[in-house]
């Protein structure tokens, strides 16, 4: 396809949705994806390959990034950003937790007040604006869950299309402990099919979910859902192994297309009437900064100077517990029960922050042997082996998913020295958690331990709360807003500075919610695509 209406850069949670919506509306779309086009046959249960060689994420040897905590430090090469790098992006290998944000997530600045030294702000849209698109995402992709089971959930216009996944022993025990404490556990909503849905088979509970691709196509990734729908229209070409290095613009300040390296590292220019950038919260700002020109000397869409700023990372903590009888939690999906009682921030706690917590098993056999056992027990030898045999089947995890305040100094920028294997400037990450984020993670960790102990655990343990230096949730770096001086995109994801450039992925987030961003990324993508289609049809792009 030479003459196209739209280039979509990135084929993950957002890009897949946008491509499908635009192609279904009859526009000609080319999707440029950095990574390969893998199929279900490429996904196996091989832990050595998928857990320790990580072929489904960006390769740090070929695409290094640098890291520093503050702008005054020298950035060093240190892996800090992780994202899915294949057709389907991170939706291929994620744990498939599919939480809607709550109403409060969009208006928290108004409710809580300002937090000095931060960019804490309301979103330019509300939950009500996004609700129809949450519903559309749930039905289009196939989400399993139980409406009404979480008393802290915001309203919804329709129930989930599929019943929740069967509960695992970790979920039963978490529910037991939570109820004893007067909390309100509920079935985890998951982007995994509990029953056959629209021609796709249901989950067979193989247990190789997070960090793996689904060999059944039962995980509702972009690869298994919207990408085939997009291709089926005949209007969408998926072009894998296509690594965009620059978005080109003309003298009028409009986007003309994208320059990318093909599989043989040959430079190719693809022309288009408009570009939708869905490359994730790290690669999106990088590409905008790389796309500077005489007309856009600070980088494309960056008149505010905020491209790359307000980076928000995956924040939370994990607790482990061991019980008397086998849970066999290595089977089936990762998480089956959640608690949202501490979701809202509460001034009585003495800090800003809130979060959700889940019951899951976080390991495969090798990873459990390496780091699943309590640290106060031997890590090798006769005693270790005896304990390992007892603990593997009897251990569960609770993970919290917590707020991460947007700080202007936390950012994605271009490293002045380090380049990737293609010779393109590498990502430089600057990140340091706000003290409230740490206090909140610690608060949640204490609640997780209380629940696990109330459940009757024989032993509980944690790794504590640590400095966040790396993340697979990449949010906030092209925040949306009504004021072009304080945001990068408008509330429909159109770049304030460039009429035919749209940016939709985790970078659009104004605040972090309580992590688990994929559901909201996809709802935003459906909403953005709806608006792009309407605008394109009346010639307003």
């Amino acid at each position: 396809m030479q003459d196209v209406d739209f280039i979509v850069i990135g084929s993950g949670a957002a890009g897949g949705v946008v491509a499908k919506e635009l192609a279904t509306a009859g526009f000609r779309v080319v999707v440029l994806e950095q990574g390969p086009y893998l199929r279900e046959k490429d996904f196996t249960h091989d832990e050595i390959k998928f857990n320790f060689q990580s072929p489904l994420i960006n390769n740090h040897k070929l695409q290094p990034n640098t890291f520093r905590r503050t702008e005054s430090e020298e950035a060093k090469v240190q892996r800090s950003v992780g994202y899915g790098r294949q057709v389907g992006g991170g939706s291929v290998h994620y744990a498939a937790n599919y939480w809607r944000f709550h109403e409060i997530d969009f208006i928290e600045r108004s409710r809580w007040g300002a937090i000095s030294g931060t960019g804490f702000a309301d979103w330019p849209i509300t939950y009500a604006d996004l609700e129809p698109y949450y519903t559309k995402a749930e039905y289009d992709l196939g989400i399993s869950g139980l409406a009404g089971s979480n008393p802290f959930d915001s309203w919804r216009s329709k129930p989930y299309p599929l019943p929740p996944m069967p509960v695992k022993s970790s979920g039963v025990l978490f529910e037991r402990g939570a109820k004893k404490l007067g909390l309100h556990p509920f079935p985890a909503p998951l982007a995994v099919l509990s029953q056959p849905y629209r021609g796709r088979a249901a989950c067979v509970h193989c247990g190789f979910c997070a960090r793996y691709g689904c060999e059944m196509g039962a995980k509702s990734s972009s690869l298994a859902t919207v990408i085939p729908m997009a291709v089926h229209t005949g209007f969408c070409e998926i072009r894998p192994d296509s690594y965009v290095r620059k978005i080109q613009t003309d003298d009028a300040g409009r986007v003309t297309g994208a320059l990318y390296f093909d599989r043989d590292r040959k430079e190719v220019f693809q022309k288009a009437k408009a570009v939708v950038l869905c490359a994730n919260g790290a690669e999106t700002p990088r590409l905008l900064l790389l796309s500077k020109s005489n007309r856009f000397p600070q980088g494309l869409a960056n008149s505010s100077g905020l491209v790359g700023k307000y980076l928000m990372f995956d924040t939370g903590g994990t607790a482990e517990a061991m019980f008397e009888h086998p849970l066999n939690d290595f089977k089936s999906v990762e998480a089956t029960r959640l608690v949202h009682d501490f979701y809202d921030a509460d001034p009585k706690r003495g800090f800003y922050g809130g979060g959700g917590m889940d019951a899951r098993f976080n390991f495969n056999p090798i990873s459990f042997a390496l780091r699943g056992m309590p640290r106060d027990m031997p890590q090798w030898g006769r005693e270790f082996k005896k304990n390992l045999a007892e603990y593997f089947s009897r251990t569960m995890t609770s993970m919290s998913h917590a707020t991460c305040l947007p700080l202007e100094q936390n950012s994605i920028s271009l490293d002045p020295q380090v380049k990737d294997d293609w010779g393109v400037p590498a990502i430089r990450v600057t990140f340091q958690s706000h003290p409230d984020d740490k206090a909140n993670a610690k608060f949640l960790l204490d609640r997780q331990l209380e629940i696990l102990e109330a459940a009757g655990a024989r032993k509980t343990w944690t790794h504590g709360v640590w400095d966040v230096t790396a993340s697979v949730h990449l949010m906030g770096t092209c925040r949306m807003g009504n004021n072009p001086a304080e945001s990068v995109v408008d509330k429909y994801h159109r770049a304030h500075d460039v009429p035919n450039l749209f940016i939709v992925d985790g970078s659009s987030f104004v605040t972090s919610g309580r992590q688990q961003p994929t559901c909201t990324i996809q709802a935003l993508a459906y909403r953005a695509a709806d608006h792009i289609v309407k605008s394109a049809r009346v010639g307003k792009i």
Binding site: I48, G82, R211, F313, F392
Partner: protein
């Protein structure tokens, strides 16, 4: 981000082809270590996961797994093994000047030797390879007869049906 997810994406990355080639070599043949070196490595990994009433690193074929890893997906760790083993041998000679080899140490001596080096990068590499060779996919040459999986109660089927665990019935 949780510990395992963080470690997962901080892990080294190699090409898919290298992983595939690790699964094609036949069993029970050494391609990298000579027999004497293999015996020294085996003596070490046997103390990391000992054979007792249940099979350990020896029965799982961990040394063959390591040998194969060092000619395929972990070929860039060969020098780490050469250097690491040299350091362990030096430590052995300090601790037990009369000894001839690691393989000829008594069990308590070998444990003492490992305790003396357990903070080293080489020990961590050896421990990682021992766990991977004990609990990884048998196509890599370790975990023979699924001895590792049997020990921990991982039955490795392609699919399961609920109930999955003891407590499911409470639901």
């Amino acid at each position: 981000m949780d510990i395992s997810r963080r470690d997962w994406f901080l892990a080294s990355i190699v090409a898919w082809e290298e992983i595939a080639s690790a699964q094609k070599i036949g069993p029970s043949a050494l391609h990298h270590f000579d027999a004497k070196t293999a015996a020294e490595i085996e003596a070490l990994v046997e103390q990391i996961l000992p054979s007792d009433e249940t099979p350990g690193a020896r029965e799982a074929g961990v040394v063959y797994f390591i040998d194969r890893a060092l000619t395929t997906f972990d070929h860039d760790r060969q020098e780490d093994y050469r250097q690491g083993l040299r350091e362990v041998q030096a430590r052995r000679q300090t601790l037990f000047p009369e000894s001839q080899s690691i393989a000829k140490l008594t069990e308590p001596q070998c444990i003492e030797l490992l305790q003396a080096v357990e903070r080293s990068d080489f020990f961590q590499l050896l421990r990682f390879h021992t766990m991977a060779g004990f609990l990884g996919n048998p196509s890599y040459g370790g975990n023979r007869d699924h001895v590792g999986w049997k020990l921990i109660g991982f039955d490795h089927k392609m699919f399961y049906q609920p109930p999955f665990g003891y407590y499911d019935k409470e639901a």
